[in-house]
Amino acid sequence: MSARERWTLLLAVMLFVSGAAWGVRSTYVLSALTFVALNAIAALGLSLVMGFAGQVSLGQAAFYAIGAYASGILTATHGWNCWAALAMAVVAGAAAALLIGLPIFRLSGLLLAMASLGFGIIVYYVLVNWSGVTGGPSGLTGIPPLAIGGFRFDTDARVFLLAWTVLLFLLGLAGNLVDSRVGRALRAIHGSESAAQAAGIDATRYKLGVFALAGGMTALAGGLYAHYLTFINPSPFGFGYSVELVVMVVLGGVASLWGAVLGAAAVVLLVEALRAALPLVASSRGAAEYEIVVFGLALMAFMIFLPGGLVSLRGERWPPARAER
């Protein structure tokens, strides 16, 4: 796919999304689709890490939380401008990723998975225990919605549009990146690290760069989340969410840009569909419990029968091989 085709496709999706923002009246549907976009932004970052650095992070929820809390605290507690706070949140996420990645990325294997798992859980406990700043378990309230001048992103339709715009823009940037000098270096590292190094590519630095990029993107999603809900508490940012993000990436297909979106959509929609469908088959009591069981079993079945992820259904390999302009 050439750059022009890619941006045309993104524009088409954007038009469709805009139509949905005006046409869909159900706030329930709009909010579910907003969460698809927020999750997809975070999953996109993680899919770059998994696809390029060949490493899995089991602590991405921490970067989401850092983004949400940084932006939330700076606006609600310190009265910052919301866009400045959001920018700061991105920087904080990227910086945190650098901090944890710097000592780790010199070796490959399971180390990043372990260290990020530890980091993610520690961040969670800090959120719970550092009540003076984070509000502790009861959370942080009074986060203002994002606003440009007098236009406030305070309805589901507006945030939906904003989240999808950000997602599609990032997809476009990521697509550009993949098909560029930096992207080739990253793909080379993925193909053969030793050969990439022999071509003068500092693999450690590039992997670290991808991880920081993912940290920043995930923090951005977290910041958008905080300004959307205007209230945050630690419970959504636990280890479970880190796992869910990995699941999204793997479901969609590792190292495929649209795979992250597909995976996020699949997880959000599967959960919602189960919630809607199960009370019909199971007795009303205990439907939520069955939902968890079915989700777990579906996940297992999916990986057993389609280990390449959703994108592998199209039989198309990513990255785009014929990228000549």
């Binding site: 000592p103 490959s108 294997g109 406990y125 419990e289 777990g296 297992m300």
Partner: protein, 295 residues
């Protein structure tokens, strides 16, 4: 309570919890060593052991039969899981296998929620009686059961792995699967056995610790992660390492909860995890934690 008594108390508490971590960590080591899979559902075996024991004891079944039935049942479930979900993924990317074990963990936890609900189940200690005073520490009787069972299991495993043909075969598979196959060892059966064994270890940990901690459907996640840290602390492929790692983790956790802050008690294990990773990168660790780069 004097300061020395306090320290003794922390040590005792830490060793008891550490015994459970060591059992859980051993489960990780055995499955990882033989099949190179990190089994995310390991903690759920612990939960099933605890809830199974609680249910059977509640129905008036004796401690010994309840223990045997629970452990055997979970071992069977673990073997079944290997057969249905892990075995078909031979040669798949490690990440896909990891996700399958995550799916299994979610499904098992959900199943427990359906069967047992959210309320914690209390269960009586194996032997009744008031707590004992040992070297200045007050120790509930069940704590002695935890340690006794753990030590018995360690001794049994040591005997099995070093003194029996079957145990040697398992070790051979862990060292070199192809070589083991050439020697006529049935690697597939060994894999299933490793899963069953780790299921049994997890269930044992859950069954003995539950009278102290209560049993709930969601206890598996944290216990599983702590057991994983114990295994990593010991090098991830070394059973004695996992045992030492388990006790070390339990004691460190107990001391930091007592002396520093109880709010961060659960974070200690994960701080240790990060420190180990960094220390290994710096090359100060005399053993390898896990994974290797391109040759």
């Amino acid at each position: 309570m004097t300061f020395a008594e306090q320290l003794a108390q922390y040590l005792a508490t830490g060793l008891v919890v550490g015994g459970a971590y060591a059992l859980i960590g051993l489960g990780f080591v055995i499955v990882y060593g033989v099949t190179r899979v990190i089994n995310f559902a390991q903690g759920e075996f612990v939960m099933l052991g605890a809830l199974g024991m609680a249910t059977l004891l509640g129905r008036g079944v004796g401690v010994v039969p309840a223990f045997v039935v629970t452990v055997a049942g979970v071992a069977l479930l673990a073997a079944l899981l290997e057969w249905v979900a892990i075995h078909p993924l031979r040669g798949a990317p490690p990440l896909a296998v990891l996700i399958v074990t995550i799916g299994a963990s979610i499904a098992i936890r959900g199943g427990a929620l359906v069967v047992w609900g959210t309320d914690p189940l209390a269960l009586p200690p194996f032997t009744a009686g008031p707590p004992l005073a040992l070297l200045g520490a007050v120790v509930v009787r069940q704590a002695l059961w935890v340690l006794a069972v753990a030590v018995l299991v360690f001794a049994g495993l040591w005997f099995f792995f070093t003194r029996t043909y079957a145990g040697t075969a398992v070790r051979a598979c862990a060292l070199n699967a192809r070589g083991a196959r050439l020697m006529g060892i049935r690697v597939e059966r060994t894999h299933r056995f490793a899963w069953a064994l780790s299921g049994a270890l997890g269930a044992t940990a859950g069954a003995v610790i539950a009278p102290i901690t209560y049993a709930t459907y969601d206890m598996g996640l944290m216990l599983g992660l702590k057991g994983f840290v114990a295994a990593v602390l010991g090098g991830l492929v070394s059973p004695p390492g996992a045992i030492a790692g388990g006790f070390l983790l339990g004691v460190l956790e107990s001391f930091s909860a007592g002396l520093l802050s109880s709010g961060y008690k659960d974070a200690v294990a994960f701080l240790i995890l990060i420190v180990i990773c960094i220390v290994q990168v710096a090359g100060w660790l005399p053993w390898r934690v896990a994974g290797e780069g391109e040759a």
